[in-house]
Subunit: 229 residues, 2 copies
DNA sequence: GAGTGGTCTAGACCACGCC
DNA sequence: GCGTGGTCTAGACCACTCG
């Protein structure tokens, strides 16, 4: 009887699925299960810990472990670079720069990122294409206070995202997903009708608490983000 | 020097943030780091394993550990029961049943869930309210093949979600997020203008491979899903 | 106060994959 | 082949929290 932590995980999950251990009820403690599986407590611990991270179990010291009542589970969406996303669909990636300028940050951006009024930013609007058709519109704002070299960066051949990855090693990110109607300018760029519903992802990136960049990614109509669990 | 796995994690992250260990480059092996931190290899292993799960590091046997080039990171969105979501915003939860019927599954539903043509389903349309105002519209379909008791369930006082949680202990879920324009009927229910862009979440739930339920959740205009990492 | 999970250690064996 | 990560063990101490 090998009893790896994966097997123990699967077994626990099986008992829950089969209804042997019902939502809300307590399940045996680590020590007891370790004895039952004939394994070390650390092994059972890893199995149960991962199930708790996945939202299946709920653990509290002294109180023990129970099956979660409402599966407080979370959906995980991979947010790969657009290029990879497009190529993963078997389409050819294309890129087109639309607008590029250095200017004072608009008020809404200052509010969103906590920038001082009048802070200078690099603004870039560009389009990511799949087999030549518009796939995603990128509206990018980069703080020149933190990344002065962004003023001179050349975004005519490739997008700001790839450039940014090379500049900032690691960062804190805040993501929002919403639906928005296409305004006339955006509709023209994406090749859709004005007012069409678009899936929009906004991402604010900070580095050591200071705002680095903000991006608004608008997808072509009908775009879906999917995941399983 | 305690050197817990959290401290080691933070230290490794710090070295990456500070640029000491650059994206794409290899970092020392577990044994070497364990010696440097004065801790056991298992402790360093946990720190590095979690960083790899979070998409910061990339690990391969024999090849060693490197800092990921493009942070292949994923956004995690909590999908709590609507009631909790509304109450977490400090609003009073309200519920209203709109439609309820037992009928043969429409073609699109059969295709989506892999149901046989003409399979009977329970359909429920209802509204979740925050402080009396429409917050989310729920369009729910339940397979009577798997849950015959759904035909008689009473959804006049509380929604199908809570009822379902008690019926299905654990399940596989497929989630999709998209933007859609409000059709006239939906607009009337949500109290918005027809054609407005809505954030829509669709969830198909299976149990041992068989389709149990499908739900389409349409949020009031302006709704955002947010997360950090 | 006492029980349960959270974590660490020291040692070991193994499997995967570069070379 | 052989080095690196992946995992398991047996034992220990600790911290949180429930009763």
């Amino acid at each position: 009887m090998p009893a790896t932590y994966r097997e123990i995980k699967a077994d626990i999950l099986g008992r829950i699925t089969r209804g042997e251990w019902r939502p809300g009820s307590a399940i045996p403690g680590e020590a007891e299960l370790a004895a039952a599986y004939g394994s070390a407590r650390a092994t059972v611990n890893r199995a149960m810990r991962e199930l708790a991270e996945e939202g299946i179990l709920e653990r509290r010291r002294k109180a023990g472990t129970r099956v979660r009542l409402s599966p407080l589970r979370e959906a995980r969406f991979a947010i790969p670079p657009v290029r990879e996303e497009i190529e993963a669909r078997g389409a050819a990636y294309g890129y087109a720069l639309i607008e590029s300028a250095v200017l004072p940050a608009p008020d809404w951006l200052c509010a969103r990122l906590g920038l001082p009024a009048g802070a200078r930013v690099r603004h870039v609007a560009c389009l990511h294409l799949a087999d030549g058709a518009p796939y995603q519109h990128e509206d990018r704002w980069i703080s020149l206070a933190l990344l002065p070299q962004a003023a001179a960066a050349d975004f005519s051949a490739s997008g700001p995202t790839e450039w940014l990855i090379a500049q900032i090693p690691f960062s804190e990110v805040e993501i929002a997903i919403a639906a928005a109607a296409a305004d006339p300018a955006l509709a023209a760029r994406l090749g859709c009708a004005p007012g069409e519903a678009l899936l929009v992802i906004e991402r604010a990136t900070r580095w050591n608490g200071a705002a680095v960049t903000f991006v608004r990614l608008a997808h072509r109509p009908g775009h879906r983000m999917t995941t399983r669990y």
